[in-house]
Amino acid sequence: MKRITTILIAIILSTSLYAQEANDLISAVNKKFASVNDYKARVLMKFALPGIKINTLGGKVYYKKPNKLRIRAKGIFFVPRDNPMKDIPKLLANTSSFTAIITGYETVQGKKCAVVNVIPLDPNLELIIGKFWISTKEPLIYLSEITTKENGTIRTQNFYGQYAKLGLPDKILIQIEMKKFKVPKMLAMDVKKTSKKKEVASKKTGEIYLLMSDYKVNTKLPNSVFTEK
């Protein structure tokens, strides 16, 4: 009986310690996010989406707290429906709305990272679970996985460079779970093609690669940037 009690106490203590460490890591990340009220940057977008052919496209990205984000580019392009670039800072900012716990440690991009699971307290929220790989040495999120009820899991890898001190990545790789894209036959515009070419989009994970540069931080971006056509 004593042994069981000791084990239970050990588990509870270690869990609360992990939870404390997780909260500390998230607080450090939030502190870094807090230094950036808004930013604009150049962005080069590369797409590898199943069933979609689209060339690399350049544009500008605008962000303003708490969760305003807009990518402006000449032409048609695709962005994730739940964009982690705006959703993650907002999600982590409200520390009382979730439980965070470290579930282990992994090496990502050569950095030792704590794997922090974030579970919302409100079960009615769209978010099911958030997983963040946060460096133990500097408060930077190297990898994240956001799982929502509607849109599955969005995995985001951040690659940091000269803007790391502000918590802003140079490169972002967003991986999205996509439903198999089937072209309605009546809308397919190649009636003369025969069935041999109809193996549409077997790959189901889409990738959007964003190369960011020339960040301008805290320039007091007007709200109109996010609304105007």
């Binding site: 689209i54 048609i76 999205i176 036959k185 809308l187 003369k192």
Partner: protein, 282 residues
């Protein structure tokens, strides 16, 4: 040569002045305007049929419903109807005159039968070209003015392709050239049947019947049909769409153009051969 030009001028004036020639322009204008109005009102809803399944995970940025897309849809819709409009005029060029009794009078001119027939064929080609230019102006320029210019989303059974707006003008130009070649085959077929048959209506109806039968055979993905499909001109009539593939299947386009051109040469050659040996009794 002067004589030929005079005959050609005469044929052009006759072709353009005929009331039925205006039917084609009227139909093209009506369909363009009604579809543009429909797109203006319900375009987004129609497009959601394609984009809806993508929008579960992705959000599409930029104006999808733009002039380039509307033009593409108009071309896709009208290229199916255009053979009828072309045949309506070119199918009557020779047989109409035979039926009216004016052919005999025309043949009293010193020009050879070949020149007369070729002049009629060129007049038919000119009408086809005018109709296509009219369609181009309405479909491309008016749509761009109404809906703006942006990238084109091209959907085929393989993928959804986004083509850059600045990469589209030459594609549309190429598509119009191929469409002209395709319609020229129909015009030449109607002209050929018009040479063979003396009735004014039969060549028009026969041309349409051939186009419809060939199109139906081309639509079905069946082994027995697949054997004959490459030899049907209707299979190659939709090659204009290949201009919007990425990368462009150059070999396929060249092959289709050669086949279409061969049809024109064969049909015109046959028409000349038959017309030179034909007894014009009325």
């Amino acid at each position: 040569m002067k004589e030929f030009i005079a005959i050609l001028k005469n044929e052009l004036v006759k072709t353009i002045k005929r009331p039925r020639s205006f039917i084609g322009f009227g139909v093209v204008a009506f369909i363009c305007l009604i579809l543009q109005a429909a797109f203006y009102n319900d375009g987004r809803e129609i497009l959601s049929l394609v984009t809806g399944q993508l929008e579960n995970s992705l959000s599409i940025e930029g104006n999808i419903l733009n002039g380039n897309l509307v033009c593409f849809v108009l071309l896709q819709t009208l290229i199916i109807q255009m053979p009828l409009l072309v045949a309506l005029v070119t199918g009557d060029l020779v047989s109409g005159e035979v039926a009216n009794g004016t052919m005999r009078f025309l043949l009293t001119r010193p020009a050879s039968r070949t020149k007369i027939l070729v002049a009629k064929w060129l007049a038919g080609m000119f009408y086809t070209l005018l109709l296509l230019i009219f369609l181009g102006v309405l479909a491309l320029f008016l749509s761009r003015a109404l809906f703006g210019v942006n990238d084109l989303i091209y959907v085929n059974s393989e993928a959804l392709t986004v083509l850059k707006a600045n990469d589209l003008n030459w594609r549309f130009a190429g598509a119009f050239v191929i469409a002209f070649l395709s319609l020229s085959v129909v015009a030449t077929l109607a002209h050929f049947l018009s040479t063979v048959l003396d009735n004014s209506i039969t060549p028009i109806v026969s041309t349409m019947a051939i186009v419809i039968i060939f199109t139906i055979i081309g639509m079905f993905d069946m082994p027995s049909f697949n054997v004959i499909q490459p030899f049907l001109f209707t299979t190659h009539m939709i090659s204009w769409k290949d201009m919007f593939e990425d990368p462009i299947p150059k070999q396929e386009i060249i092959k289709s153009c050669i086949i279409l051109f061969a049809h024109i040469v064969l049909l015109l050659g046959s028409a000349v051969y038959i017309f030179n040996r034909k007894d014009i009794n009325s």
